[in-house]
């Protein structure tokens, strides 16, 4: 297992570095001088030159990218152009909000979607299965920000069950949890449907496999056959999808954070793009990339832990 972990983590690091290099190049390929944009249209050439020197934009491109990487390895992502605070500090400050949001959304989706899929698969073609199929597909097709807007209108404005704006008071766990409910619901709903469909399909497939017949032929209880023999296999594709899904939830989180005016990485990217705050854009995109790679790596490791065949192939 250890060689496999090392291999996957090593691969993850390489992917992050490549992604960051690509990102760096892309930002530099975008037309327009960041220094000029930051300072606005009425900036004097002297000011622009000073800003360029401060951001290191006057250096040749290879030197810039080398500097960026050496700084990165030291944990230095540069300074926020506007507030003059270290970017690392800003990003780390916003990260927990987004992490909680995504994490809770996946838990919410998994807790409802996985049992729903199982139940549908085991009661195939019943009324329940058909209804859950229709509902799942409609969940999948509704964009997160639409759900967010309606959730806001219904549960925050009309019914006033949950607060509408922000992330709650620092230190007040209950308040923060209450503020999480609607955003989590908004981005998790599509995943409830998606996971339900996915688990149903893989469960149906596994239940047809011949080892399930063997397990039954040994008189194992139906509970053990389903939850021990079938689900352990049927859950494997879901684990992979959740790994990738955590990454996609980041983009869903962006819109949801804006709708609910919640702090978070998504809101940070949005705000810094609007204000052309390139170091912050760079820093938050970097963190998102790491998050994406980390979650896919994690799901690969969980898969390897669950499935001995993956483990021994590497």
């Amino acid at each position: 297992m250890l060689p496999y972990i090392l291999k996957r983590v090593g691969l993850g690091i390489i992917i992050v570095l490549l992604a960051v290099a690509l990102l760096f190049c892309m930002i530099h390929l975008i037309p327009g001088d960041p220094a000029r944009i930051v300072l606005g249209p009425r900036a004097t050439p002297e000011l622009i030159a000073a800003m360029s020197a401060r951001l290191g934009l006057d250096l040749p491109f290879p030197v810039q990218i080398m500097r960026f990487f050496t700084n990165l390895l030291r944990g230095d992502l540069g300074m926020d152009v506007i507030t003059n605070r270290p970017v690392v500090e800003i990003v780390i400050g916003q990260l927990p909000y987004t992490l909680w949001l995504i994490f809770c959304a996946i838990i919410f989706a998994g807790l409802i979607g996985i049992p729903l899929g199982c139940y549908s698969a085991l009661h195939r073609n019943t009324l329940f299965d058909r209804i859950s199929g229709v509902i799942s597909v409609s969940f999948i097709t509704t964009p997160a920000f639409v759900v967010a807007l309606y959730a806001l209108l219904i549960f925050a404005v009309a019914l006033q069950w949950f607060p509408s704006v922000g992330a709650g008071d620092r230190g007040d766990w209950l308040d923060q949890a209450m503020h999480l409910v609607l955003p989590v619901f908004s981005i998790g709903l599509a995943w409830v449907g998606y996971l339900a469909r996915l688990v149903r399909a893989s469960m149906l497939e596994v239940m047809e496999e011949s080892h399930i017949r063997t397990a039954r032929a040994f008189g194992l209880s139906e509970r053990r056959v389903i939850y021990h023999y079938a689900l352990k296999l049927a859950i494997l594709p879901t684990v992979s999808v959740i790994g990738v899904g955590m990454g996609y939830l980041l983009s869903a989180a962006l819109l949801t954070e804006i709708v609910f005016s919640r702090p978070g990485i998504g809101k940070l990217i949005y705000d810094s793009v609007i204000t052309r705050n390139y170091p912050v854009v760079m820093g938050s995109v970097l963190v998102s990339t790491i998050l994406f790679v980390a979650s896919t790596t994690m799901s690969d490791l969980v898969n390897a832990w669950l499935d001995p065949r993956t483990r021994s192939n590497l």
Partner: protein
């Protein structure tokens, strides 16, 4: 007559499919005597798997048992409720399935699977483990103590089939059903597995219902043979009866087609022309008539009745009675 372990009478099973009712088994009669090895032979689609699934009651949901009884040790298995039949599976009746590579769970270790099937016993974990190790040893798995914690994909097909046999014999069943246990294995392993089965059968003393389409294996292993065609038993008798004096045209054709029996060099292997008839909306008449070279007019009209050739040998063919 010796006492029977398994007596199947008039078993008829249909599958409800879109085109109508597929009559997979029709009036099947099979006897398995105590300690006997009975072979069931027939080509693919003749109802062998349906037969096994009916005995252990693991038929697909669209199956309908239309008629018949499956007497096993004094009770009709078809009358038992779900809990009662589950208590039989793996204890009184065990099955060794066809493809060992897919018939064990790929994400559970052999140890986990062998321990799970002993869930009924009151033994401690270490006793169950020791029993599993002894079972593995008895089927010829070298170094069971290290190998037992491995997963199915770390074993070869032959080894997995040995493990399947060990697992099936765990509770010392009175009936072992072997569903083409050697079909997925190569020829040398086939011989080994057959010898192992025969060996273990004589030690445990269980009866065996051995399903195969390999005539040579049946002749080697079994005491009596049931020849099935398209859901019917067309001939039944001792190995000697059926192989030396086949009475049904299908059995004769089947024996002619066995490559092991061909004496002269040939570029074309013999085949039985035609296909298994469609079992949906069956008409009257002999089921084999469309492929039979010696069909009579009567074969179009009536289903042939069972004809006793000797006390141990019977077949269903109009020519025997005509």
């Amino acid at each position: 007559m010796k006492d029977s372990v398994l007596t199947i009478r008039n078993l008829s099973v249909d599958y409800q499919i879109e085109a109508g009712r597929l009559q997979a088994l029709r009036q099947v009669n099979i006897d398995v005597e105590k300690g006997a090895i009975v072979g069931v032979v027939g080509e693919s689609g003749c109802g062998k798997s349906t037969l096994i699934s009916s005995i252990i009651r693991l038929l697909p949901q669209n199956a309908i048992i239309r008629d018949g009884t499956v007497e096993f040790e004094g009770s009709n298995l078809l009358d038992l409720n779900d809990e009662e039949i589950r208590a039989m599976r793996g204890t009184k009746i065990s099955v060794v399935f066809q493809d060992p590579m897919t018939s064990l769970n790929p994400v559970l270790s052999i140890q986990q699977q062998m321990m799970h099937i002993q869930y009924r016993d009151q033994n401690s974990r270490s006793e169950k483990l020791n029993k599993s190790l002894a079972l593995l040893e008895s089927v010829g798995i070298a170094d069971p103590r290290t190998r037992i914690s491995q997963f199915p994909h770390e074993y070869s097909g032959g080894m997995l089939q040995r493990i399947s046999i060990a697992m099936a014999l765990q509770a010392q069943p009175s009936l072992l059903i072997a569903d083409e246990p050697t079909t997925a294995l190569d020829a040398t392993l086939e011989v080994q597995i057959i010898h192992l089965l025969k060996d273990i059968q004589s030690k445990v003393g269980c009866s065996v219902l051995f399903i195969s389409h390999h005539l040579g294996v049946i002749a080697e292993l079994c005491d009596s043979v049931v020849v099935m065609y398209a859901g019917e038993v067309v001939e039944h008798g001792t190995v000697r009866d059926v192989f030396h004096n086949p009475a049904h045209p299908y059995t004769r054709k089947l024996l002619e087609c066995d490559p092991a029996g061909i004496q002269t060099k040939t570029r074309m292997l013999p085949v039985i022309p035609g296909e298994i008839p469609n079992l949906v909306n069956l008409s009257d008449g002999c089921i084999f008539r469309s492929r039979c070279q010696s069909a009579l007019p009567i074969c179009e009209m009536h289903v042939p009745r069972k004809h006793e050739i000797t006390s141990t040998h019977s077949a269903k063919c109009h020519q025997l009675t005509a």
